[in-house]
Symmetry: C2
Subunit: 294 residues, 2 copies
């Protein structure tokens, strides 16, 4: 594989996820923290207008704007559609600052801990992910294929893209512990890339435990689309924990339990993510699988 | 004292605080839950447009729009200024549905547990608060005088107003446990009012522990007003716990601790409330005081 020549650290793809935004600000004040000898590191505040108004987005979710057909569709003119084009033309294939690796920093109201989200299973990313789990055993790897025809995520515009999702943290707030843990994770990524570029790759295990998203579950809703139940207290903040058939997942506003009716043990994540109420997602069901990193 | 004739339960004064909004929706579906024989109970979704767009407010914070001079100022025409006038003309003094008691339901990203906020020390409210602490010993009473010339809060338009602040819960999410606990608190209030109206008042203790807000503390900021530090991990979620002089309260983005430099033990609340970043408030410092309820 070719070396990484340029790496981009992105914050604020969602304007109310402050962890990534303040990390990018820190790196912009102190660029020496992220400079390494064998590659260039850039930073990007992806959706500054959304950050300014304290919202996830202005017109539409920027992190769903990167399908290639949309990037080439001149008729799409929302703030985020335009922003996506500019970002793609900068860091994407044949862009003015074409980058090989993009780290997109997100936070969640779900108890995601420190999660690396991969949308593709590329050996380089799997090995990087394996390295991060060896540096911090609390790191989880979530593999989630996009449901759209093309990959709509920002990190898809670079050959090796991944997202970091940290939580639980409320939108519009900073959690110092998660801030520092995310920062450490970024330095570990930079170390890994540097060693790889210098042809002294850091050793990783041969297999990696990955939580593979198998489907999403919506809240119970009435005919007008209004939610009829909440995440059950026993499931709240229990991301990555085993959920057995028959265990409660929702509690209606009248206090009735709704149980998980699947026939196998699953591991829910993104439980009670604020931004997913409107997307019709109460949680992602995942299954842990072991995959080879080489 | 005269009897309570009409009581209003308000949700959604802030559009992204879902607990109160979904409680009001529940009560509107099942009004028998909140009807009592000796008084009328109304419900109000205070800021429906903010709820629709998933934000605290559209133009300005509705819960700062109720100073009498503003309610009578025809030049104030923001969405919330107009909404405030309509609400006041309905439930306020000489309103079409003038109410004696208003319960305004809020939620916080701070670990406020179940807090009753009083802006005035009226015997009726103190006795009601004392009753609620006897029903649920986890209930805390926060006494916070408005800093403005007149009281700008929605609950000030009724003779006996108070707010319920529950947390920690992220904006835009529901926490089932807090939802149910808030619901129980509302029923306890209705029971208390009913008994009082029927001249069989429920017995309360003679004194009440109240956390009195003494001042607010802002985040450290640079010359352009940008925050320079986060809530210290040791203080995060520690609302209502003793903070001693010399103990850390902030952590800068570079990892330096900033300590509390006061000379007496205080009890911070509203620690890391998302909506207060823009108001210049990192926390409220309070002191516990014991006051007579009779």
């Amino acid at each position: 594989m070719n070396k990484i020549k340029r790496l981009v650290i992105v914050g604020g793809t969602h304007g109310n996820e402050l962890t990534g935004i303040y990390l990018v600000k820190k790196f912009e004040r102190s660029p020496q923290l992220i400079q390494r000898s064998s590659f260039e590191t850039c930073t990007l505040l992806a959706n500054p207008k959304a950050y300014e108004i304290g919202k996830r987005f202005v017109d539409t979710d920027l992190n769903r704007c990167f399908q290639r057909q949309d990037l080439h569709n001149l008729n799409l003119s929302s703030y985020e559609a335009q922003r996506a084009k500019v970002i793609y033309q900068t860091y994407g294939t044949k862009g003015t600052l074409e980058a090989n690796l993009m780290i997109d920093l997100h936070s969640s109201t779900s108890n995601m801990g420190l999660t690396i989200i991969l949308a593709r299973q590329l050996p380089y990313n799997l090995q990087l992910a394996a390295y991060l789990t060896s540096v911090n055993p609390n790191v989880k790897i979530l593999y989630s294929e996009p449901q759209t025809l093309e990959n709509p995520y920002l990190d898809s515009i670079c050959e090796f893209g991944c997202s970091i999702e940290v939580g639980a943290v409320a939108q519009g707030t900073l959690n110092a512990t998660l801030f520092q843990q995310t920062e450490e994770l970024i330095y570990a990524i930079l170390d890994y890339v540097e060693a790889y570029n210098k042809e002294t790759p850091l050793r990783v295990q041969d297999t990696l435990m990955v939580y593979q998203s198998i489907r999403t579950i919506d809240y119970p809703r009435n005919a007008t689309g209004e939610i009829q139940a909440m995440i059950h207290p026993r499931l709240q903040f229990q991301d990555y924990q085993a959920l057995h058939p028959g265990e409660p997942i929702f509690l209606t506003f009248d206090g009735e339990e709704i149980v998980y009716e699947g026939d196998k043990v699953v591991y829910p994540v993104f439980i009670n993510e604020a931004a997913y109420y409107e997307k019709g997602i109460a949680m992602f069901m995942t299954l842990p699988i072991e995959i080879a990193t080489i």
